[in-house]
Structure formats: C-alpha cells, structure tokens
C-alpha cells in the first residue's frame, strides 16, 4: 500500500486526499453523509496521512530480543534444574542450574543497558504496578534471579540449608513465568503484529525457551545423563516451529510482517535452525554426542533468530499505517453497521 509517501503536492497540483492512493475517485462529496457515500469496497486500501505511521516505532535496541532469549533460557533451565533435582538427576541438575544462573545473570545488565537513562535503573523498583508488564517483569526477574542464585548455591555447595532447598521449586515456578511474560510485555502495545498475536506469542516463547534450555543442558551435560535435555530440546524446537506457523496463519494479513522482508528471513532461518537442530539432537542421541551438541548449538541460534524475527516484525508492523488503520477501520465500520 501507500507508496504515496513521497508524492509531491503543491497548492496548484492538488490530487485526491492525503493518501493519493485512494484510486477509485469516489471519495466524499460535500454535503453528503460520508458513511453513506463511501462503500466499504472503496476502502480496499486503508487511507493514511502521506503514508506516515500512526503509531511510534519502539525505541528498544538489540539488548531486548537478546534478553528475550537469555530470560527464556534462564527461566526454562531453572525449571529443568528443579525437575532434575526433584527426580534425583544430580549431574543434569547441576548443569541446568548453572545454565539457569547464566541466563538470568546476564539479563539485568542487558535490560539496564537498553534504558535511556541506565543510571536510573533503580527507579524500576519504585513501585509494583500490575498494569505494567514491565514492572511485573522486573519483579519476576528479580525473584527468579534471587531464587536461582540460592538454588545453585545449595546445589553446588550445599549452602543455605532449607532456604536453598525451598528456592529450587520457587526458581522453577518463577522461571516458567519469566519465559512467557516477555510475550505479554510486547503484546501490551499498540503494535498490531504483537498485540494481535497476544494469544500465541506466550506459547511461541515458551516453546523456544524449552528448546534453548534443553539445548544448553545437552551441550554441557555428559550425554548419558542428558536424555531428558535432548527430549526437551527437540520437543521445544518442534513446538516452536508449529506455533510460529499457526500464529502466522491465524493473524492473516496483520501477520504479514512475520513472513516478509528482514523479519521473514530471520523467521525462516530460525525455523530451519530449529528443524535441523532438533533432527540432529534426536539423531545424535546418546551415542553420537558430537552430532547432538552440534544440533544443540543450532537450536540456540534458532531461538535467538526467532526472537529477533518477532522483534523486527514489530518495527515493520508499526511503520506501515495499513496494519494499524486496516483492522481498526474494519472494526469501526462493522460497529457503524
């Protein structure tokens, strides 16, 4: 659509409306009721103001999609570690706790460095605000990090006694929410490709977090102890490809940015990494650890690429006014009857 953003208009060369793209020349006649005169069919192309965006593009930079990955890796690893601990898998549990600690450990610096005023990061702790997913996420990350640190200390060195043991299931539970709240964070914006995907995005993030946690544990754990990690990695990757397809299908035209341009390329690369990685992990299994580890590496790359695809799709969706105006106009017209 649009393409009219560069159209030069002067007072002596007026053309149809600010959009220029309203090809059927039957817009509005003075003295007529606009609603009656303009059939919905005439609005096949959403109107715009010189093709300019309606909403503002996010100002977040590379730290944010990377955090979606590290937070997901950390949270799901805590979950895997808590489960492994509970079922007496000490080798797997130790590795998974370390992966969890690494994931949640690098997350706060990433988030702080993305702030416009990093020195004011403590202002995040001024309030607990339920209407702000970012506020809830801050406390969630704080809780998960604390619990994961305590659980890891207990697992590695037997420190903290009962508190350390209680921290394990707490870290697992909070970690689960840490993997999916980031989807709420971006869904709670006016960006069409994020807000309209509010039902699917948490599942996508959970699936690729499972793949990441499984892959990280596969990479770090001796292969004879890593069977659950391999299953989690392959299962999560398969699920993430499925959810991505379902999401694009359900969103229809609004979901276009996920499959077009740079986000589209990133998304397809993510799916290729997920599919090949899952196959390699499954084929490698216990007997071919090098193959399984290579597959795990691919899965980690795929999880990063997928977050990047979703992130960049948001920018493309915000930039083109048709994604904002189209669905809203349809809604308004439907209401008007």
């Amino acid at each position: 659509m649009s393409g009219n953003g560069d159209q030069r208009l002067g007072p002596g060369t007026m053309t149809t409306s600010g959009t220029g793209a309203r090809t059927p020349p039957a817009p509005l006649r003075p003295g007529d009721n606009g609603a009656g005169l303009r059939p919905v069919a005439g609005r096949a192309t959403p109107q715009s103001y010189y093709g300019k965006p309606i909403i503002a593009e996010p100002v977040w930079s590379w730290e944010i999609p990377l955090y979606f990955f590290t937070g997901g890796l950390g949270g799901a690893s805590a979950m895997l570690a808590a489960g492994a601990d509970l079922t007496g898998r000490t080798t797997l549990a130790r590795r998974a706790w370390l992966c969890a600690l690494a994931g949640v450990g690098v997350s706060p610096p990433l988030l702080i460095s993305d702030l416009g005023r990093p020195a004011r990061f403590l202002n995040m702790l001024r309030m607990v605000k339920v209407t702000s997913p970012m506020s809830m996420g801050t406390w969630l990350l704080l809780g998960t990090s604390g619990a994961t640190a305590a659980a890891t200390a207990n697992n590695l060195f037997g420190l903290l006694g009962p508190a350390g043991r209680i921290a394990k299931p707490v870290a697992g539970a909070l970690g689960g929410m840490l993997t999916t709240y980031t989807a709420v964070l971006i869904s709670d914006t006016a960006v069409p490709v994020w807000h309209e995907a509010r039902r699917e995005l948490p599942f996508l993030f959970a699936a690729s977090a499972a793949a990441s946690a499984g892959a990280a544990a596969t990479l770090t754990t001796p292969s004879r102890h890593a069977a659950p990690a391999r299953l989690l990695a392959a299962g999560g990757a398969a699920a993430s490809v499925g959810v991505m397809q379902l999401m694009e299908h359900r969103l229809g035209e609004v979901g276009e940015p996920y499959s077009k341009g740079t986000p589209g390329i990133l998304g397809r690369a993510a799916e290729a990494c997920a599919a090949c990685g899952a196959a390699a992990v499954a084929f490698g299994g216990r007997r071919r650890p090098a193959v399984a580890r290579a597959g795990a590496g691919l899965l980690l790359a795929g999880a990063v690429l997928e977050r990047w695809s979703v992130f960049r799709a948001g920018f493309a969706s915000a930039r083109d006014p048709k994604y904002t105006v189209g669905p809203q106009r349809a809604r308004a017209d439907a209401r008007a009857g």
Partner: protein
Amino acid sequence: MSAAYELATYHSEAKPRMGFFTDTSICIGCKACEVACKEWNEVPEDGLNFTGNSYDNTGGLGADTWRHVAFVEQRLPAAPESGADSFVAAAQRRALIEEQGLDSEQVEGMRWLMASDVCKHCTNAACLEVCPTGALFRTEFGTVVVQEDVCNGCGYCVPACPFGVLDQREDDGRVWKCTLCYDRLKDDQEPACAHACPTKSIQFGPLEELHATADARLKTLQEAGEASARLYGRDESDGVGGFGAFFLLLDEPEVYGLPPDPVVTTRDLGTMWKSAAAAAGLLAAGVAGALIAGGRES
C-alpha cells in the same frame, strides 16, 4: 484504571478535568500553536526539513513536537446538482482563486484540511498504565504528564500509545510529550497553544464544558451543510474511554494520520496473562514429560 478513578485519589485536591477541544473546521494552519508550545515549554528544535507534504514540514508528534499541524489536500468529485456545498470548502476555493490565481475549473472540488494534533490525554491512558516507574502520572486536572526527574527511558510508553504521541529524545534518553502546560494550569493560565490560537480552533477548558461546546458546534456545521463533520474522541465509550483532548474533524481520522478505532491494549491484559500462565504450565508439563520419558539416570 481511568481518569475518574485516578482523579479520585486526589480527594479534595482534585480539580475539574481539563482538556482541549480542537475544532479543525476553523484551523487556518498558521502553526502559532506549534511555535507557542515550543517557546513556552522550551522544546528543542525538531529538524528543519522540507517534506513536500503540503505545508506540513513538521511531520508528526514526537519527543520534540507536542503540537503538529497537519495539512491534507483533497480534490473531491463535483458538488451534487442540488448545490449543497460546504461553506468551509467554498471559502477555501474562493481563497485559491483570489490568492493563488487559479481559475474556477482548477479549484473544482478542492478543499484543504488543517488540523492541530496533540496528546489526547486519554481517559484510559496506555502510556500511564504501562509505565513501570510511575514517571507518567495523572495530574489533579486529569491530564497525563511525564515526570522528567523519574523517567528512566525504558521506552515502554512509546509503542504502547495508540496515537504515536510519545518518543524518546535521543541525546537525553527520556521520553517527552505534551503536558497540557501543567505549570500554566497550576497558575490558572490556559496552555500556550490555546492562548496563541488566533481562531479559537484550539479551545481549552473543563472537559464537560468543552463537550457541550463541541456538540453545539457539530450541530451548527451539520445544519450548514458540512455533513462530513464528526467529533473524534468525544465518545466516552470508545477504546480509550474518550480523550481529554478531542477533535472536530471533516474526514475520517486516518486521513489526518489518526487511528480510526484506538484501544488501550491494557484492557486485554487478562487474556495476555492467562495465555502466559497457560504457556508456562505447558512448559512445566513439557519438562516433566521429558524427565519421565528420559528414563532414570544411568
């Protein structure tokens, strides 16, 4: 959360909710509002650009643009035989003939829409609801303001606003937007833009009074044949609970670069958190499944 709820937290210090009624049918595109806003609020320069988009070289609202005058040039089909014509459009065409030296055929069906855009000071303000630091708050006048000593530049309000009003000032890191001249309001002064507007296209006052003014103005325009006139943001049942700064427009909102059906996305927070909890539950089930199917440690 809504303006009424948040205003109630001021108890006896709450003031009547104040706002703007921007009547675009009498906007002459002089940009005095843009200038007055910049001067009073010491808003930095926002670029000296030539866009080629009619007389709009400002572009749109942002960190350094708190009032933006839009210029829309339209050529409409010939007026119906009945002769019913908008006096606004007729006056504009007359001006084109007299001032630009065009002949009557060239100006046939032409009209020029001008509109001064501003922060809507929504009843249910997405920016305020998602702000994690509380930098964005509801004033005792029911307006929405960023506390610059609190904002840490997280940027969440930027994509949350359904109108693209807020933005981050690059060299500063914080977000900025219209304050509805909070400082002037506290001294019983009207905002700079409304004060400077020579045609009273920008009217300031208690929101309830503005609603009555706007309703009367809409009726006048419709009776005069301007049937395309409509109020935008007047309806308190819309997706953001109505605007504190609402408009009278002469075409669809999107023609002016405004969203036709804006919603505050936090109203769907329930769905989002439920979905997130379900996904986390499924993840837990997946981990449990992997641990069970993975067999005992050998």
